[in-house]
């Protein structure tokens, strides 16, 4: 099965979706969509850094993304302008700087479109091990900090008063975002990474009553988007990464409409009672 490029793509995509969904829930809850976008855009700089330092693009992306995420937190605290403006400036600047730096490095020939929009159909065996290895580590770390991170998300003071080590937990959370950006880049590219994080999570909202339920639904929606998107890509010869995001978006819309209908139906059933 691993010899077929299509199945490799599906297995890689599902691997990423299973960790991106639960992690994406925190990005939705903590209102960090733009933050995620900015760190993902900085990933292109990581690619350049990876080549320069000779550590390969994946590790380069992980290191640079983590540094940028930590830098951003400091910057957001110090900034005199609104956080959304800071992120808006840095999100696009990071992308532009990455493109310019890569252009200077004339000696490396890279597939720029592949980094921007993903190249999931070119995923090889080694990539697969990287993705699933990284995915398992990320899921393990997320499971380890799950309870304290949920507590911090609900109320930081309350969690800290009850002994949660906020600094450590939030550092691991940043590390996870960097890790997931690094492995998801191969699937949907730096421009669409955030989509894979937040769209399945947003679609999951109306189906869940607990944080854990929402994480499970988000993982399922993400996997479904990968399977649907890759099949659509194969059928209609559309680009794979964007197709996955389109399917995720369709799922989000369908989930929203469905939950609305159920709500209306329940209300009607209640008012019909004698």
């Amino acid at each position: 099965m691993l010899d077929d490029f299509f199945y490799r793509a599906i297995i890689a995509g599902i691997g990423v979706a299973l960790v991106a969904g639960p992690l994406g829930c925190f990005i939705v809850w903590r209102r960090m969509a733009y933050f995620g976008d900015t760190t993902a855009h900085a990933a292109l700089l990581g690619v350049a850094f990876g080549f320069l330092a000779g550590i390969g693009p994946t590790v380069g992306v992980f290191v640079v993304t983590l540094l940028v995420a930590l830098l951003l937190i400091g910057l957001l605290r110090l900034a005199r302008i609104g956080g959304d403006t800071v992120l808006g400036i840095l999100s696009h600047s990071a992308l532009a700087i990455g493109l310019v730096v890569l252009a200077f490095m004339a000696w490396v020939r890279i597939d720029l479109i592949g980094y921007l929009f993903g190249d999931v159909l070119a995923v090889g065996r080694v990539d697969l091990y990287f993705i699933w290895g990284g995915g398992v580590v990320a899921l393990g770390l997320l499971a380890a900090i799950w309870r304290p991170l949920v507590a911090l998300t609900v109320d930081r003071d309350l969690a800290r008063a009850e002994g949660v080590r906020a600094g450590l937990v939030e550092l691991v959370y940043m590390l996870l975002i960097a890790l997931v950006v690094a492995i998801a880049m191969k699937i949907v590219g730096v421009l669409l990474v955030t989509a894979l994080l937040i769209i399945p999570a947003a679609a999951a909202r109306s189906f869940a009553v607990t944080p854990e339920g929402m994480a499970a639904w988000a993982a399922a929606f993400g996997a479904l988007a990968v399977i649907g998107g890759l099949n659509a890509s194969l059928t209609w010869d559309t680009p794979a990464g964007p197709s996955i995001v389109v399917v995720a978006f369709v799922l989000f819309l369908a989930a929203g409409i469905l939950s609305r209908l159920v709500e209306v139906w329940q209300q009607r059933a209640r008012s019909d009672l004698p």
Partner: protein
């Protein structure tokens, strides 16, 4: 009143649950609170009153260890278990959360224990409700039940009745006062009103940057004016606190002593 005095003197002999010694918190070059000395003794109810921006929440946060002290220290009795009831939480609509899950944010608890704690505050029926659907009073009861799960020696509540209508406030105060009797814990309560505190309060601390005055509350019943203002039920739950200050504050919060030379806050802090 006698009953209160008896309890206070009995408590006076015991080791305090919590003490602040010369406590100060300085942020961005400004002292939010300074030179705060206070003690909470076992089974004592301490109410903190003071103007907005007077540092009530900063004090609570420092006593809880969320905020680091810039001067002085907080001394806790060895092994002290604290229960914290924050001001009404705002929980993002995107975060699905039931009462049961809110109760178990930082600890795993059996459902039977959850029901018992929620039963203490009269909201056991809400165990599976979504937190976004709760009223102000229900939410506070859930938060208090949540704090009880840790079997605290000292319960800290930050403006617990603020978002509750008057009838609900009386009920909530009675509930809180009852907790001392049933669980034997000390209670620190931030009050949102400068002059009205919970009737069972043993001692009041008025905070405006520093401790302006401290004393015992008076029964509402002796003040027909307040009785008329708050209605007959007020005396069941509320008491009055008359401030006796030897100084006042300028608009910037700086202390103006009632003697010739005005001292600045920095000087008083030394």
């Amino acid at each position: 009143m006698n009953e209160h005095a008896g309890r206070a003197s009995e408590a006076g002999r015991a080791e305090p649950l919590l003490a602040a010694n010369g406590l100060g918190v300085r942020r961005d070059g400004r002292w939010l609170i300074h030179d705060v000395n206070l003690k909470v003794r076992p089974r004592e109810i301490l109410s903190i009153v003071g103007p907005n921006g007077g540092g009530k929440t900063t004090l609570i946060r420092t006593l809880l260890g969320i905020e680091a002290a810039s001067a002085g220290q907080v001394v806790r009795r060895a092994g002290l278990k604290l229960g914290y009831v924050p001001q009404r939480l705002t929980i993002d609509r995107t975060l699905p959360l039931t009462v049961a899950r809110l109760m178990t944010l930082t600890r795993r608890v059996r459902r039977a224990d959850l029901l018992a704690a929620l039963g203490e505050t009269g909201v056991a029926h809400l165990i599976d409700a979504g937190v976004q659907q709760l009223s102000g009073g229900e939410f506070q009861r859930v938060l208090i039940a949540r704090a009880l799960l840790g079997r605290p020696d000292l319960l800290m509540l930050d403006e617990p009745v603020q978002s509750v209508d008057f009838g609900g406030q009386v009920e909530l105060y009675r509930l809180i006062a009852g907790l001392r009797e049933r669980l034997g814990c000390g209670i620190v309560l931030v009050s949102h009103d400068l002059h009205v505190v919970m009737r069972e309060t043993d001692r009041v601390v008025c905070l405006s940057g520093h401790v302006c005055c401290t004393g015992v509350p008076h029964d509402v019943q002796h003040h027909p004016e307040y009785l008329r203002l708050f209605g007959p039920r007020a005396s069941e739950a509320l008491a009055l606190y008359t401030h006796e200050h030897d100084h006042s504050h300028d608009p910037a919060g700086e202390v103006i002593h009632h003697h010739p030379r005005n001292r600045t806050k920095a000087e008083t802090a030394r």
